[in-house]
Symmetry: D2
Subunit: 284 residues, 4 copies
């Protein structure tokens, strides 16, 4: 399956014939579908689908596919994205002082688990610069204070532009992004160190300890203007006991955080995640 593929992620109002119309589009042009999945949200009256097909043998040139599909999509009031598997998205990883998620993402990218380029690491601290150097990635240190936040966000956006970044991954970046930032650059995945919606906000492990929960979690989600309220991509949990102090929760949570974040980023990069409303469909 190493030959390049095209993937369509589509959502539109539900009506009969949608699967047929979309499958016909691929078939009529000589394409071989290797993955097709669909979901209908009957409450929302919404049809959502992911179709992936081999470009080898497909009769339409790449730069025509979008235009050709638009003719089908428009009468259906569909919103859609088209991706090619050999077009590597460019990631910026944002960190503060903790290195576990950063290390994990870099290792996975090198191991071929994440089909992406990572040309940029950005931090409000300088502590993790040596890791960037070790992996040969540009590191930009942009400290944030309440006074400098606006100016630094402008700088951050400039860097995302300069490095042609497609996706920002907040890998334990402990600053809140402003609504303006998200409005300008909406493609951001965050890892929150709790089982949302439990313990949204600050110090989730401390609060989980105080509440005496028997299980803790981590949540990867798209960032929206409402803190920790964005569409959830992936969650996972681990059991804790009365023997676990806050430091143990943090340690166990680190493993969760890096696993959950890596899975979410991978799903996103494979174009398996479709957001609608505040929910995600994950075509896993």
């Amino acid at each position: 399956m190493s030959s390049p593929t095209a993937t369509l992620l589509i959502s539109c109002p539900d009506q009969p014939g949608l699967v047929a119309k979309m499958a016909n589009f691929i078939y009529a042009n000589g394409g071989n579908i290797i993955h097709a999945d669909q979901h209908t949200d009957f409450l929302a009256g919404l049809f959502l689908t992911r179709i992936e097909w081999q470009l080898e043998g497909f009769n339409l040139p790449r730069d025509i596919i979008g235009a050709a599909f638009r003719a089908i999509a428009q009468p259906l009031n569909a919103t859609w994205q088209l991706h090619f598997s050999d077009a590597l998205p460019r990631l910026a990883v944002w960190v503060s002082q903790q290195d576990h998620c950063l290390y994990d993402l870099l290792w996975r990218q090198r191991a071929g688990e994440l089909q992406a380029e990572i040309p940029l690491i950005l931090s409000n601290h300088s502590k993790l610069a040596p890791i960037a150097e070790q992996f040969g990635i540009d590191f930009h240190h942009l400290p944030i204070t309440p006074e400098t936040k606006a100016a630094q966000e402008a700088q951050q956006l400039q860097l995302l532009h300069d490095y042609r970044i497609d996706l920002v991954v907040l890998a334990k970046y402990m600053q809140v992004l402003t609504a303006d930032f998200i409005h300008t650059f909406p493609s951001v995945i965050n890892i929150h160190h709790s089982f949302l919606p439990a313990f949204a906000g600050a110090n989730p492990y401390q609060r989980a300890y105080e509440r005496g929960v028997k299980i803790i979690g981590a949540t990867a989600h798209y960032v929206t203007q409402d803190l920790d309220e964005g569409p959830i991509i992936e969650q996972d949990v681990v059991r804790v006991s009365h023997r676990d102090q806050v430091a143990d929760l943090i340690r166990k949570g680190k493993d969760l955080e890096r696993m959950v974040l890596a899975r979410a980023v991978r799903l996103h990069l494979q174009n398996r995640v479709l957001v609608y409303g505040n929910r995600t469909v994950v075509f896993a």
Copy 2:
């Protein structure tokens, strides 16, 4: 979603256009697909799919659908099944002396979780007859000895025929079915009280204890001529520790067994399981 649906489970050699052809068949006849899922096993060169659509508004009468689809399936060398959601399959539950899986299946059937009728309980012991009576289900006691096994299997097959049984569920039935029986009546789901292929055969909990494993499991599978070797539908596990004696493994295992068996039976009844070779595709 309570209006009746039809479901096709199809497998055929992979080739371009399969999704389109099958979706067109539904669409051309006015059907609205509510669930479509597919899987391609590239190693085996096999395409497998499940398509479910609403019968309301579908132009073909029920008794014609099969014949009409045959015209499409034959040139594709497809094997396929057609099911209607309002045709309740008839289950026979087979037990020995343990009641937990039996109780669980009967409770779930009553609660509406299992869309099936259960007209028959069959056992090689008489112990669970009171439960059958309590739920108003016929109970047949067919004790098995090496000498009587052949005759009793004939009797069992006769009962399956008389009660028009579609599926046998071995809910802790501690006898091995012969190859002849399976050949005559192949639709049998078993729950094995281990994480197969670990601890196939007798006394899995005792052997798990002796091996000192830290996790135990249960496995629901279709029964084939090779003991505990049939296609796996569902598995689950639970953590154990050095504090757990064999009796604790048995107790924890009971919860696993009833959950795993119930999930497998439900998936089967919803026509979500497609067997090929010794594997299953579960369109969950």
Copy 3:
């Protein structure tokens, strides 16, 4: 291990020599410890322990053990409970209209998993009376309206007194108990159908669906005056996906609820749960 045992659950300010003092008490009187576990909460400066020993061969008669241990406990400012394994606690199960947890508890009690008597089922609806009858247990129907709540709670307390109930298990009892009730009868375990503290309060499955979580949970806890805020005994979770409607969450949640509630009740009955502050130590 079927000979009767005594169990001490003790908490006291931490100081050197506690394990030695308590173990010596058992040993000096000829007892054989079969389970000893301890936990120190260094932040709270608290020592908590569970000691279980065989009564066979123990030199102190049962009715003297408490007085004898008091002499040790008092200088340590310890609070403690003494239980005998052959003294079966008496449970009242409270339900509303859902039967899954009730069935499960009754089945487990009969199967020997719950060492307790269940002489009383109490409900604000009459719907589940047939189950009580089927298991030969008294059923009292006490409907609740805002106007009658106070009078009915008095009636409930009277019944708990008449039946000499030791523990109330709220097995999907959909009424809130008043602070007065809890003050009078504090030994109450509840199952909440969410992963607390997420989705405390009403309609957790609906809200979990709306939030788009990828995992749902259930929580068993002691009931306090603050709704869904009591000490957590046990939690568990199950994965859900975009395919799961609210009805699916409810169905999957039922399995969680009955497992988690049963585990919590069993832990309580085995005197393995020690509450301090709003937390529990579970000597599992």
Copy 4:
């Protein structure tokens, strides 16, 4: 809890008074126990315990504790180990060509999760030498052929001696150790990429795929002369589906392997694992 502690791991034939005798030994010498756990295997007639106490305020000097405890242990026929929390064990990590477990262990050691020194990495390939260099650890390349195996094992043992190694961690070292080696150096932890005893031996992921299992696992165990048969320390699992190819099983398994191995090594380093027969007690 950062002041140094002593830990005793003890096993002996069960008899009354063991907890008291051991706790008295600590108390009589002015020690404050911070963790005590015990287990009795009634079938084996064996008592096993772990006691950890603060050295601050303990009246016996370190070099006397062992001799003093021997006087207690001998009449009980006890076998025991004494460890001090500030004596860092020295680890050798053995690898072949896969880097995920190695990276993970090195990261955790740096992050303070593993209280040990790692002065030596040993491999039958040269591929991972750059990682050793990056972390500033000596790397020895000892290629193995059937002809050179005996000589290379002698060389390996010499290196373990020279580097004063306490524990060998086989972090995806794809060679079998001989019985002679294990006899000479028995302290070895291995990670096996299956849920033992399922798929012992070679190519477990391929075989798991072929069997069509729905869950895969990983197992960390002490190495004995019988391949994949040693005492299990820790296991974990992850769900797979028909969509997962062998490459997906390998990828998912890597996450399991590094988590399970790291947990097992950490438990060993904290002196929480006690082996008896072919089983472990894990005082977690």
